[in-house]
């Protein structure tokens, strides 16, 4: 094959089959990928991988076929990897028999064999299923400057922006190939130039912007470009504490799903913005001003595509991406206050909160009072991916509400703010 990347003799050997035919195809895919973006060389990956494909969706036979080829060739990720959440948890996310039948026999019938494939390829452990792999409890936290071979748009944007790691928005399968090779082609967000901002976003709101709507607005405007956000620190502070990280997690997921943002800088807050300031902004950067009216415009653009647009909500999903330890505590306090306000002891809707298994265990152990409160309110905790749940055609027809712009984007779920969701869930309707 013809290629432009400069390969070492070892890399060239792999391409020519020194490590077998399958590894040569892995290398060919990565070289073509690098060539498409003008990468000159491979750079070593640091630490564990993170895969986006966690679901044994029967229709993904082509993906399973690649996995089988890799396993058959004895290939695996030596550093191990985490992976996105599992799709189903019947104990905490109740389904009727027909929904179960569709999940187990038609949609995710290949879940068990697929997880067996993941284990053979280097899955970190049975609790390694989460989109928020970068949380301390999950133990896949990159350091500033680490080069990653990750997918999952919300994890990539968090690792780049909040942790200062370096990762492109890799697709599923490509991220696995990079982790197996232990190298990725160097381009775009792996380079200093690629991390410079093409947009200045000026936040001029009169109150703290909803993270999900702000991220949505920026994603829709800048698409895949890097934004440098000014004025947000006035609302969320200049300290990267747990509360701020939770806000940025949700903000980033919205920028990545409503657009294709892989990295953002927040003035006076995120590590590279603190270190380099305006030097991160390109000379030709465009400006986008966000005020209250702009956020309102963006929110009003979200369509209501429920089967019955006037239906009463049935189910509430909170936590896409997965909630942090601190966010679980915040939700417990939010529901406690709303229940008191409405004079109730339990929520009136089926409320499901999603968080990684190790975070739920941490929450249960170190904030037992809040954990017990959530359960006593009738709220379920699970580690599934709500998006995968909503992919069931029967579940997708339900009137689901969510505080996640990402879930809204990919499903029929309707978006409401944290406060609105809480009030609706307690009241049992609008």
């Amino acid at each position: 094959m013809q290629y432009k990347m400069k390969l070492t003799p070892e890399e060239e050997g792999i391409l020519n089959g020194s490590q077998g035919e399958v590894m040569a195809k892995v290398m060919k895919s990565l070289v073509l990928y690098g060539d498409a973006f003008g990468a000159e060389r491979f750079v070593p990956v640091v630490g564990k991988g993170h895969l986006v494909t966690s679901f044994g969706l029967s229709v993904l036979q082509p993906v399973f076929k690649i996995m089988d080829e890799l396993i058959g060739a004895g290939l695996k990720v030596e550093e191990t990897f985490t992976v996105d959440p599992r799709p189903i948890d019947y104990a905490n996310v109740k389904c009727n028999p027909i929904e179960k039948l569709i999940f187990s026999k038609i949609m995710y019938g290949a879940q068990a064999p697929y997880e067996a494939q993941l284990r053979k390829l280097g899955l970190k452990g049975d609790d390694a299923f989460t989109c928020a792999s970068y949380l301390d409890e999950v133990d896949n936290v990159p350091k500033k400057g680490d080069v990653l071979s990750w997918a999952e748009s919300s994890a990539v944007v968090f690792a780049n922006s909040v942790l200062g790691a370096r990762c492109n928005r890799n697709s599923g399968i490509i991220e696995l190939f990079g982790s197996i090779l232990g190298k990725v082609p160097e381009f775009d967000l792996l380079t200093d130039e690629g991390r410079k901002a093409k947009w200045i976003v000026e936040v001029k709101t009169t109150k703290k912007p909803e993270a999900q709507i702000l991220g949505s607005a920026i994603g829709m405007k800048v698409m895949e470009d890097v934004p440098y956000v000014k004025g947000l620190d006035a609302w969320i502070g200049t300290e990267l504490n747990e509360a701020t990280k939770g806000y940025l997690k949700d903000f980033g997921a919205a920028t990545a799903s409503n657009g294709a943002v892989g990295l953002y800088h927040i003035e006076n807050l995120t590590p590279e913005a603190v270190e380099l300031g305006d030097a991160l902004i390109r000379d030709d950067a465009k400006t986008y001003v966000i005020d209250d009216a702009e956020l309102e415009r963006v929110r009003k653009s979200y369509p209501n595509i429920w089967k019955n647009p006037n239906a009463n909500p049935e189910r509430v999903f909170i936590g896409c991406p997965h909630l942090t330890f601190t966010q679980l505590g915040e939700w417990a306090a939010r529901f406690e206050a709303e229940l008191k306000k409405q004079g109730k002891s339990k929520v009136a809707l089926n409320v499901v909160m999603t968080s990684p298994v190790p975070v739920i265990e941490h929450f249960k152990k170190d904030n037992k009072a809040a954990y017990d409160k959530l359960l006593s309110y009738g709220i379920k905790l699970t580690s599934i991916c709500p998006l995968m749940y909503m992919n069931n055609p029967l579940c997708g027809k339900k009137a689901v509400i969510t505080n996640s712009n990402k879930l809204r984007t990919y499903t029929t779920a309707r978006y409401f703010t944290d406060d609105e969701i809480t009030a609706i869930a307690v009241k049992g309707g609008f």
Partner: protein, 149 residues
């Protein structure tokens, strides 16, 4: 009357007189393809509610003309899968430089799917996207030359 545009072939191939489907916004691959793929449908009907240009249009064996793709990082894997299933667009023509998810999808299809591919040309420019309309016939040459009739 035809108009010729020149881009860079990311996955080179020859396409003769196939029908264009045009999106002026970034195409969210997962949101567009997932519903039909899940149903194992014989054709992909775009299910992305946020893309009025493509929503509910048939994308199988069409030439998708777009700025780039956006959204979930399953995007490349989804493109590869629909290619292997035989329901992919026959070509993707990008007005802008190709994005990492689309590039992964067309490259994985090229390397790992036997007998099928998604031809991809990028950098065709804003003029291309302003000119091409749904239903126009598209011819693509191996060198990235795109002829719109």
């Amino acid at each position: 009357m035809s108009k010729v545009f020149k881009g860079r072939p990311v996955v080179a191939g020859k396409i003769n007189g196939k029908e264009a489907v045009v999106s002026h916004a970034g195409v969210n691959t997962l949101a567009s393809f997932q519903k039909s793929a899940l149903k194992k449908a014989k054709q992909v009907i775009c299910s992305d509610q946020n893309n009025p240009d493509l929503y509910q249009k048939n994308l199988t064996d069409k030439v998708i003309c777009l700025p780039k793709t956006i959204g979930s990082t399953t995007g490349g894997m989804v493109l590869y899968s629909v290619c292997a299933m035989g329901i992919a667009p026959c070509a993707m023509l990008f007005s802008e430089p190709i994005d990492s998810l689309a590039a992964a999808g067309v490259i994985l299809s090229d390397v790992w799917v036997d007998g099928r591919t998604i031809v991809a040309v990028d950098g065709l420019g804003d003029d291309f996207l302003a000119y091409v309309k749904d239903g126009m016939k598209i011819t693509v040459d191996e060198d990235g030359t795109v002829t719109v009739d």
